[in-house]
Symmetry: C2
Subunit: 399 residues, 2 copies
Amino acid sequence: MSTSFRPHRSGDLHFLKRLNRSAILELIRRSPGLTRADIATHAQLTKATVGTGVQSLLKQGWLREGELQKSSGGRPGRALHLDEQHFAILGAEVGVHGLRLVACTLSGQVLASHHERLSPSSPEMTAELLANLLQTLTQSPALEGYCLLGIGVALPGPVAPKDAVLRMAPNLGWKDVRFLDLLRHHLPQQDGAWLMDNEAKSAAFGEFYFRTGQVPDSLVYVSAGTGIGSGMIEGNQPLLSRGFQGLAGEIGHTVLQPGGLYCHCGNRGCAETLVSGWSIRAALGISEEEGLIEALQPRMHEESVQLTLRRAGEALGILLLNLHHTQNPSELVLGGSLVQLGAPLLDPALSYFAAHQNRLLGTTQQTPLRVIEDSTFVAARGAAAQVLASVIHGPSDLI
Amino acid sequence: MSTSFRPHRSGDLHFLKRLNRSAILELIRRSPGLTRADIATHAQLTKATVGTGVQSLLKQGWLREGELQKSSGGRPGRALHLDEQHFAILGAEVGVHGLRLVACTLSGQVLASHHERLSPSSPEMTAELLANLLQTLTQSPALEGYCLLGIGVALPGPVAPKDAVLRMAPNLGWKDVRFLDLLRHHLPQQDGAWLMDNEAKSAAFGEFYFRTGQVPDSLVYVSAGTGIGSGMIEGNQPLLSRGFQGLAGEIGHTVLQPGGLYCHCGNRGCAETLVSGWSIRAALGISEEEGLIEALQPRMHEESVQLTLRRAGEALGILLLNLHHTQNPSELVLGGSLVQLGAPLLDPALSYFAAHQNRLLGTTQQTPLRVIEDSTFVAARGAAAQVLASVIHGPSDLI
DNA sequence: GCCACTTAGTAAATAGATAAAACTAAGAGG
DNA sequence: CCTCTTAGTTTTATCTATTTACTAAGTGGC
């Protein structure tokens, strides 16, 4: 159960100042080119408050002034943009088949990236390798002159909400790993904000946070790879929920087929027994050593492959529908390596979801579902987004 | 899809004052008897700020001073409590088989209640009847001298998140009903805060908000009645998510049995086809007119009844497990009329959940699950709790 | 009983934030 | 060139929390 004594938010004048500065920064982040006057309108602050806030954000290197706007019968305003040349954030994903690293700007633009294929190894060795790769990345010429805000790490398993422990990673064979501590041991000089989260949650956050213009009210990211995970973001909140034990979003272990096949977790009929990298491998006799996509490419015409993928796709469709009826996000995003299997898997999933989602309400309004073809760096970039948000909204002295 | 332009929170000095006042009030609400000094410690405010805040809350009728605390070598502090004699809140639930009304104090203590059995009728007639019953309730002697903060209404169906529309209530035969507007038409003189929500969400909120002492980090309430719904509250937030179309928590329509029985929503294999008041009636040939519990009581020994309830219970267990793997609350609460069916339904559910919940993490930590035997007024009281929270944290001038 | 010590709570002065009002800047349009 | 409009800054005012000093009210040692 739990239940620390967590009072409601209170604050002093400094807190208020920070709140308003971050609101200004978020507005410009979402809508580059806003003027001070626009911000005053949208944030419900006075011109004076916005003026001083913007001034300090300019000085601190968060913003830069842009061109004059077109006038419509008055003094033209000056556009404000994020300063893309001052701060950068590091993000990394520890995946079952390799490490992915990115460095990106405040807007999420990738300055440098690296993808290192490797087989699962111990937490310690993985942390050491990742530390070295991060060290190399920070020295890349693209990062010259940037000030690093921190490091975010996405991991393939549930992460406990408070104490930064990876509870387990079945496909890596890890259990109760304090990965950040291991990493920090090899990167002692790197300061700033450090955090880690489940990869689907990092990905969800990044897909939400780095979007500009129209932003959905809520978004669920479904990560379909060796396992199936999900993350939800809602209400423009800078943090996203991990659940009590870090199990929030573990939709791969929701039961879809009572009495069905045994899952590696010991339960029967988990969604992952129907749709996941490992269950497809098991069904089609593909070893861990082979790449799933590469192994299946030449066998796509086989009937057993088509049938397996169709069944997996239907299960994925059910998962999407169940998310619709539990979280009901205003947008769904589907990523992960299984997406590369293409139509044989995705068509049944998408058509099941499209056909069933409106039955209950009897409407025709479809929840938009976006499929990310290449999600290689999505989780790593999302982890960087989480770091950025924690700096902007947390107790940092950089803002 | 959606996506209004929703900026991050900003605020002025008045907002800050309100924020601190509500933090103080929430602390005392959760831990009656705290002194000003305790509050200063917990809320991280100075003694002076707490002092002036408490003073104004005393004057406005939110708080009252209590006894002196025991001294431990210094001036004893004075205990602060909610003023239980000044404000009251009305809550109502429109159920399939009747109306439930409560009036409660700031701590959730029920001052007066009423349960009116009736069969489904039109929204207009129901609203008129409820208005009359509320009117009567407000004139009950127990409410003498109380100042009413507002009215909350819980409804048996998805409520759209923004525009206060009951999207549908399958078991009432309603669709797109602006119930508050109908109700207000018959209660024009009643002012204060008005709101409505889905009954499971109201119940979830009330079970969380009116608890004192140790409070769970998150809580999911599962309402098992004619249909199955759920609501989740998390992170001490004063509001709870309805999802984009109001479908969040509609776990009764998650698919548990692909290709299973047809549900009234038109899909197949929804959880409600396995466990719900209507599916149990259908399976055992019990008409809408009879009370389900009353009809089953004498038939409990029949094998078909036992089998039906066992199967329903297993499905309920799967639902609980799936919630565990999607939301992962730190506490589960099970309520609704089906609870009255007792062990034949509950035992399979609870034992399934207990046996399967720890498989993934391999721990022995059990998520506490509380079964509410009599949840008659839980949703109505929860709706009142929502009103109270909206007054405390909203833009009211009462605080 | 006296006195040092401790903690609770209040009062007055101070600091720091946003707001309000006045002002300057800069363009459109007649 | 003048008026009107909008953007942004400066100055002043207001408001809130903090700081500091103080009063209140206990404990415990002597």
